[in-house]
Amino acid sequence: MELTQMEQEMLAGKHGEGVALAMKVQVATGEAFGAARMVPITRAHVALSNQDADTWFAEKMAKAGAKCKIAPTVNPGFSLKYFCGHCQSQKAMTAEDVDMMHRTHNVYKQLGAVLTYNCTPYLGSNIPQFKEVIGFSESSATPYVNAVWGARSNRESSLSALCAAITGLVPEYGLLLDENRKGDILVEVQADMDKDFAYQMLGYMGKKIGPGIPVFVGIAKRPTPEALMNLGAQLNTSGAYGMYHIVGVTPEAPTLEAAFGGKEPARKVVITNQDLKEIRDTISHAPGRIDFALFGCPHFSINQIKQVADIVQGQKLAVDLWIMTSANNKYLAERMGLKEILNAAGADIVEETCMDQPCWHFLKGKVGITDSPKLAYYPKKRGINFVIRDLETSVQAALKGEVE
């Protein structure tokens, strides 16, 4: 890689040890991918996880004196305020769990991050412009910023995104270069994409779609932001995708030709209603009685919160129901009267919390219902199983305590 004078100085430690460490990682990455140079970024999102690797690395950086040159937004850990008052959860958490969240908070504050604790920055707090070069981690975020906003980001890890925030640079390779943003796989969607939930299932077809950049055709109606959030989140649960095209919708795919950059598709895949139904049944726990409902992986939008409130209004839930979202959406829901409706039904809004956190350990051994395969995927490890259904069916199930 060719480095500028300034970049060489950064690597050599003239701007502090933290910057040097970040540069070292980024130069090695650039060399692994054959990047010719480093380029400046104007935004970053760090998918902090409040888990060991991440906090270890952030503390290593902070100790080395690093400060973010580009203040990144960050993912959620769990809300100390919300969970430390709830005795079920409190009993299931260890002192280390609570301490870890404090450590995470303190180190990211010290590094100068924008402490959004939200995993859908691409819907609100951190939205790039067309062709803006950025460093985004968080699996649902990179496809969204690339495909929907037309920005340029590689699929950074939380660690490499933190390096980018610190140096203000990224190695130029992969999705930063126009020629690597063209489609590889033609995905003909014959399934009815009438609900946002259909995009959860479409996204979960990673095994059938295979590696490369998918180009979706056959999607007649512009998908909602929530549908596109679902698509990106699940694509990266079932595989690893930093980019896709939807012909006629995403800005780099006005036509099929533009999406493929004139190339022939390397592969063609057809997705039918049957495929979507089969994948749902494969990944879903068997229907029957449920113990709770959990939504918001990725974090629910205010529209989704309203959808749930509209369904439960004036009724009583048979089981607990939680919606994870940003602090701002919780605030808006309160002001708009939605929180009152939800609380009256026995549901609650949980701010700034990820489902893959120790605060949910109290659900161990239980069966929940959710609309998100990603939400269902990780907690298996902790012995929490989920029936997967569309949002409306899930909420109805929570009203009854069971699902067919």
Partner: protein
């Protein structure tokens, strides 16, 4: 039969170890840190341990967060693979490897894949872009 293969460095390191091959992409979060065993149901190496192996697989999958954390947990318990030999490098896996100092290569000569099987002992020299089969099972 050929024993030496060219490859391309992703993360530096020179290590020797036993081959474990997976046809499926791997998410390190669904690998048990205490044993190195893959616990993802339906995965083609479900129940086998990646600990200290030269792990040959197509690429990573799963959220960027959990990939790095999973690998870190394995590393802390000394159950991480010694090296990763992959086909589809992506930033999440590669930067995790670099930061955690695990040797990683890609672009191995195609013949390599038909020459090896589980249990073979190989030497991965990422720095010089070479893999050598030292002992066949």
């Amino acid at each position: 039969m050929k024993d030496n293969f060219l490859c391309h460095k992703l993360s530096e390191g020179v290590v020797e170890g036993e081959v474990l091959i997976s046809q499926d992409d791997i998410c390190y979060y669904l690998v048990d840190p205490a044993t190195g065993n893959v616990i993802e149901s339906g995965h083609d190496i479900e129940g086998q341990s990646v600990a200290q192996k030269i792990l040959v697989f197509p690429g990573g999958k799963g959220s960027s967060v959990v990939q790095a954390d999973g690998l870190f947990q394995l590393l802390m318990k000394k159950n991480a693979p010694k090296a990763m030999v992959i086909k589809n490098p992506e930033t999440v896996l590669v930067t995790s490897g670099i930061i955690m100092e695990i040797a990683m290569v890609d672009k191995v000569e195609e013949q390599f894949y038909s020459s090896i099987k589980n249990g073979d002992i190989v030497r991965v020299d990422a720095n010089n872009g070479e893999i050598a089969i030292l002992r066949r099972k």
